[in-house]
Point group: C2
Chain length 162, copies 2
């Protein structure tokens, strides 16, 4: 039996409320373990990001945060984003200047991102074969990896078949 939160978010059976709960509680646990503060603002921004599986822009987040934090300014958002990225709770989508919740923040964080041009949803995949091929290639090049951005743009299965 598969838990609903493990289902791909394209699936009609995907229970997003459960998906968000899991993300938020995982975030809270990780921050506790690490002795860092998931403050109100940070939690609110993380919640806003998790409203969907779409990548969200910083200034869009700012607009959506303002009803909750009247004083919110660009720095408010960027600080929260910096924190969430540092803690591996969200991904920055480099090719969109946007941000998306990470569904595997307790495991390997860097993933392959499949970004749909139609629905704008981002599917993150561990893609072990890709990662190991990247390691091999880097090793051959004598290159020491610090971080990876592997972003594929195209059309997701849901948008193709509907």
């Amino acid at each position: 039996m598969t838990s609903q939160t493990e289902l791909n978010h394209y699936s009609s059976e995907h229970n997003h409320n459960q998906c968000v709960s899991l993300a938020l509680s995982t975030a809270q646990s990780l921050c506790n373990e690490r002795g860092v503060l998931l403050t109100t603002i940070r939690y609110q921004v993380l919640t806003l990001i998790w409203e969907s599986h779409k990548a969200v822009k910083a200034y869009e987040l700012l607009d959506r945060l303002r009803p909750l934090q009247a004083a919110a300014k660009p720095a408010t958002i960027y600080r929260a984003l910096d924190f969430l990225i540092e803690q591996g709770l969200i991904h920055r989508v480099e090719s969109l200047n946007a941000f998306v919740g990470c569904r595997c923040s307790d495991q390997q964080h860097e993933q392959l991102l499949l970004i749909c041009k139609l629905c704008e949803q981002v599917d993150e995949r561990p893609a072990p074969e890709v990662m190991s091929a990247l390691l091999d290639e880097s090793k051959q090049a004598g290159f020491m990896i610090h971080s990876k951005a592997i972003e594929i743009h195209g059309i997701c299965i849901h948008c193709r078949t509907k």
Copy 2:
């Protein structure tokens, strides 16, 4: 015997003048074949990008173009960059908002980019195993690929060993 332009640009034997000549003449040929114009401005911008193997920012290019084109404005640069990207003559490095010459514009254009944090040089590699793993993974996900950005940040072999 290996031609000098085929040598990795980290090598001390790398002849960059030759490297640039090849890039510019390839660009010219490709544009001829395709019936598109490599205008003066576009050629100048391409030449500026090829001054090194580092990724260059748009506004830095603008500053360097102005001595040659007094009227140059942001749109001037961004139009030239758009053209060069469309023609596969340069790469946009998404994770840096910067641009780098493409050394394989006559072949497969999308490549793995190894980006050094120290010398800022970008090494592009066809990385066939990585590409085929990406294809497999996308196929499994039912995802139709339009474009790829595969960008690895770290320390290059030259910076590690010097």
